[in-house]
Amino acid sequence: MQAVVMLLLGGAVIKSTLTDTFLRYVKEGLRPFLLGAGLLLVTAAIMTIWYDLRAARGDRAPHDHTPHDHNPHDDTPHDDAPHDDGHGHGRHELRVGWLLLAPVMALLLLSPPALGSFAAGQSGSIGPAEASDYPPLPAGDPVQVGLLDYAGRAVFDGGKSLAGRTVKLTGFITPGPDGAPMLARMTLACCAADGRPIKIGLTGAPIDAPPDAWVDIVGVYSSEVGTDPVNQAQLAYVDVKSWQEIEEPTQPYE
């Protein structure tokens, strides 16, 4: 019984790792560890089932390895009775183990989407970091630039390394404080619980894509700088020349 839950948990972890769904939740570097953990869970489940079957077939009495709370000598009164704080172990363990089905089902049946405009609107944008120098952008017209990289070059470098270049930015649409659409992408330090947005203001060609739609934006440097009302971080702007809706990338975070 517990083996089934472990099997499902291990299976769900392995499945989301192999299908890249896990990239919606954690960093890519966790992949080998997730696979290893998933395989260990499946192994533990198989070993549990194997010992259970053997116990069911043969020597039941002394080494019964079915779960605790129906193991007669497990509920010895001297252990539980004197200070029973409602934390009886056997049943408690079993009951709480059922909860593992919640993440399993969420992973297998729902696969919640990557963080989107709701999360982006709730926390303040990462302020661009000041770097000591901004190397020239790689070749390409337009050249694909990360949002954080663009923001740093736009705000602190005064757009010098962006001058004369057409850039392509990939992110999703999120409504800004004034309702105008902004471009955003979430960054993860570890998992989606610590996800933070980088927001970039949009001027130029109007964009009517709905919130959470993923877009490629081709544009040029704009000298406009705004602030995020959530945390007063500086926001870079881009002058939009053209844009198009795209599929959500496999790696939704930057």
Partner: protein, 335 residues
């Protein structure tokens, strides 16, 4: 999701006869699975509100992030519980408890992992005869001062390596102080480790897999509770609230200490979150980093499961206060 799971959980404890529930619960599981498959689309519909969807994403991501650490921690704790002989600990740690506490705290340095793994490991240590005070010092120190976490802290605060030094120092001081406090005030009966006849099995392999199964189900279940609570807080608290609270130096320390408990971020990631809370003072962010790996919702839930509730209601608040005091003191001197 949650309501769907509470139904079988409630029924699992009802049937009285030992052998009947087993078949019963497996059937319940099958029924629940089929029902969930049937209502899958509707369930997705219920979860389509942006807040709920973000909740589900954060909940799943906390679990996915924690699973490797949980599993490796569980395997290591099963190795300790089954294969490492009791005599090893008697030789490895100083025999006097007062000295064993700092030794165990420093030993936490070599265990790279986050807090989800260290709870079952500390439980195993106590089970194998390590003095509880030393095991608790290890429990508190291991997630906070291991090389991975300190490296992450250095990276998260570029140009301020003293942040990582202050974090390691403050965390070690709190861990050792709590260990010694336990020696003076702690009562053995507060810790109530679940009775585990399976660990004394004559077959080591069988005992090993039984220990793995038990810890995954047990610690994992409590991790689910903590992850759900952390996801709720994550969705409910908008960033703009924090802005207003950051202005007063004392309030900001208390706010970030509380936030560390509520957010339950993995110790390997919390430095990046602390770095992002730029409106708060460095000292208050240090307190955030010291409190987080020692007291948070998922740890409280797991500690209650592994050590018992009577232990948790005393240990968690005391650690919380100690972490704030030491963190503030170290921050004031060093930052």
């Amino acid at each position: 999701m949650k309501t769907a799971e509470s139904a079988p959980a409630a029924t699992a404890e009802r049937p009285g006869e030992p052998d009947s529930w087993r078949i019963g619960s497996l059937e319940w599981l099958a029924v629940v699975l089929v029902l969930l498959l049937l209502v899958r689309d509707r369930l997705a519909g219920w979860l389509s509100g942006p807040g709920l969807q973000t909740w589900a994403t954060v909940f799943v991501s906390v679990m996915v992030q924690a699973v490797p650490f949980l599993v490796f921690g569980v395997v290591l704790s099963a190795v300790i519980a089954v294969f490492v002989p009791r005599s090893f600990w008697a030789r490895a740690l100083p025999s006097h408890p007062v000295l064993a506490v700092p030794a165990a705290g420093v030993a936490g340095v070599v265990l790279p992992g986050c807090e989800c793994g260290s709870v079952p490991i500390a439980g195993s240590l106590i089970r194998r005869g390590v003095t509880p005070a030393a095991a608790l010092a290890f429990l508190l120190a291991a997630p906070a001062i291991n090389p991975i976490v300190l490296t992450a802290t250095v990276i998260a605060f570029p140009g301020r390596p003293e942040m990582a030094v202050a974090r390691g120092l403050a965390s070690l001081v709190v861990a050792v102080a709590m260990g010694w406090l336990w020696l003076r005030l702690g009562k053995a009966e507060w810790i109530k480790l679940p009775h585990r006849p399976d660990l004394d099995d004559t077959s080591k392999a069988r005992a090993f897999w039984a220990a793995c199964r038990h810890d995954v189900m047990h610690a994992g279940g409590f991790l689910v509770v903590g992850a759900a609570a952390a996801a709720t807080i994550n969705v409910v608290i908008p960033g703009a609230w924090l802005q207003k609270l950051a202005e007063d130096p004392i309030v900001s320390i208390l706010v970030l200490a509380t936030l560390a408990v509520l957010l339950s971020i993995c110790s390997e990631a919390d430095a990046f979150v602390a770095a992002s809370l730029t409106q708060f003072s460095l000292t208050s962010r240090l307190v955030f980093l010291v409190v987080g790996p020692m007291v948070d919702l998922k740890l409280i839930s797991m500690q209650a499961g592994v050590f018992g509730r009577r232990f948790m209601v005393r240990f968690a608040p005391a650690t919380f206060v100690a972490a704030i005091v030491v963190g503030t003191a170290v921050g004031t001197v060093m930052l």
